[in-house]
Amino acid sequence: MKLARFGDDRIGIVTGDGIRDVTDLLPEAITRLRPRYRMNAVIADFTVLKQRFASAEGPVLPLEGLKLLPPLTHPELTLCTFANYRQGGAHERAMPVFWLKPADTITGPGATVSLPDMDLGAVHHEAELAVVIGKGGSHIPAEQALEHVFGYTATIDLNARGILDDQGIAVNAHEGFGALGPWLVTADEVGDPQALRVRLWQGETLRQDYSAADMEYTVAELIAFVSTITALEPGDVIACGTDHRGIGPVQHGEDYRIEIDRIGSFSISVTDPRRRRWPSVIDPKAETALSAARAGGLFIAAAAFTPGIEEKVK
């Protein structure tokens, strides 16, 4: 089943080329919640709601013309896994590293993201598979971890490079830096998450194209690890990291589209109050920077990336 948020904070089931609105089927215990808690509550009660949604009748609204919203507006916990793809070559598997992303960063399909009006090296797109927790728990064994998955969604995780030692809110916490969508797809429709292919295009140009089979820590292992640090709850999001070999700058006037098999596709566009220009290509230094970070360098250092070509706003 595919669960979407759309229009004026409605919840619907995606069927073919349309959405069936199921908002009115939600129990009062959920509709009286603030909008930011509703999808999390739907996820928590899904075993009950699933039947109700599946047998829903009523018109199917054509997708074209609907405004899709981020499927989760306010995840309680959004974690982004750092450098979780093997990318060939031999290296020792180190402990996974996660960065928290505040919910204020979340945006959805069709969003226009404004680059921060701050000095920075570049802002990179990272196309990622994101797993959404369905059943909470702590110290979840990896062998049972997929039973805790509600479903999956796609994310374009944006991160600024070359700013403040490459850590902290200036890197990953700007509004719009966490685009989620186009909807949530339940685990039964996705099957093996490691078999998915993730792609991202800038305009018509394919930049990122990699298989989730290359993850250093599988989805199940990521869930198991995180649950040793915090008790997971329904609606928590873990973005599984990206293959850095296709990442590149996002910039004014360009569009970026992510697509993941069996999940779907969505785009965002970018504006920049400073009208900075970067070479519109895969960052040639991305792989070197990742290797440096893996070798024990503190972070992906500013100097490792192609600097912007500043153009003053007229």
Binding site: R34, Y37, H74, E76, L77, L79, F82, A94, M95, V97, F98, W99, L100, K101, P102, A103, D104, T105, P116, D117, M118, S138, L164, D165, Q167, G168, I169, A170, A173, H174, E175, V226, T228, I229, T230, A231, E233, L298, F299
Partner: protein, 315 residues
Amino acid sequence: MKLALFDDHRPGLVVGDRIIDLSDTVGEAIMAELPRDRMPEIIAAFDRLRPLIDARTGETGRPLAGVNLRAPLPRPRKMLFGLGNYKEFIELPDKPVKPINMFTKSSRSVIDPAGTIELIEHDAIQFQHEGELAVVIGRRARNVSPGEAMDHVFGYTCVVDGSARGFRQNVTFINKSADTFCPMGPWIATADEIPDPQATHVRLWIDGQLRQDYPTSDMENPVRDIISYASHVLPLEPGDVLACGVNHQGLGPLQDGERGAIEIEGIGQLEFAVSDPLKRKWPVGVDQKIAAGARSYRRGEHTPPGAPMFEARIG
């Protein structure tokens, strides 16, 4: 004015050693909110509520000792914590101010006053206490200047930024955001109680031994600059928590069975306990290695490669 949550997350006005139940004063709509949203909603409605709360100051209430205090913000919408941001008692008039940097700490890490920090089983070199002044946002702030920033402060509270040391990075999820790693409280002191947040003082004790003892005048980027900076990254909302960073002179290990307390002048004292399922042992007391390392860093000196940054385990 000191505003608390207590027992079943009902709001209270703290006057001396008594607490006055404010449930009726804040009204049904706010009491119908989830516990986590009650204080943010009180803050958002504070212009209207303040005179009503003021009018109850003279009531007797009941003894504070007889209630269970809760974290005033049990799960803030966001918590942004400063990295470093103190001068480590070293004045360097010619050194440019190091710009503030902040990281996101999980709201799920917050625990109530008298709660217990439960160390995680991961093999950290050490788990440390960072007692800090925290700002509670009162009015939405987006791209505010330092000059405007203080108008967006609701008040202040105490936090302990529990920190796991020695993983690949310093401020990632495992370092800062384990469940229970953020004692908060005992309540919020409204901004008028601390007219100058750069003129208060932070102290933290472990088992009665004074460890952290620093004035907020030592802060490198003051509160107004912290708020301005954060508001240029993302919108700040009523009830968001911004911690001001820490002076590293006085940090030390947290270990099983200890009891700690943080006190900030103008706010009050918050107690906490520590438990460790693995009963690991570190030397008890201030960690002089991180203290010396932070002083060197402040002076711009390079620490010799391979030099240990923290005291190691002894058992």
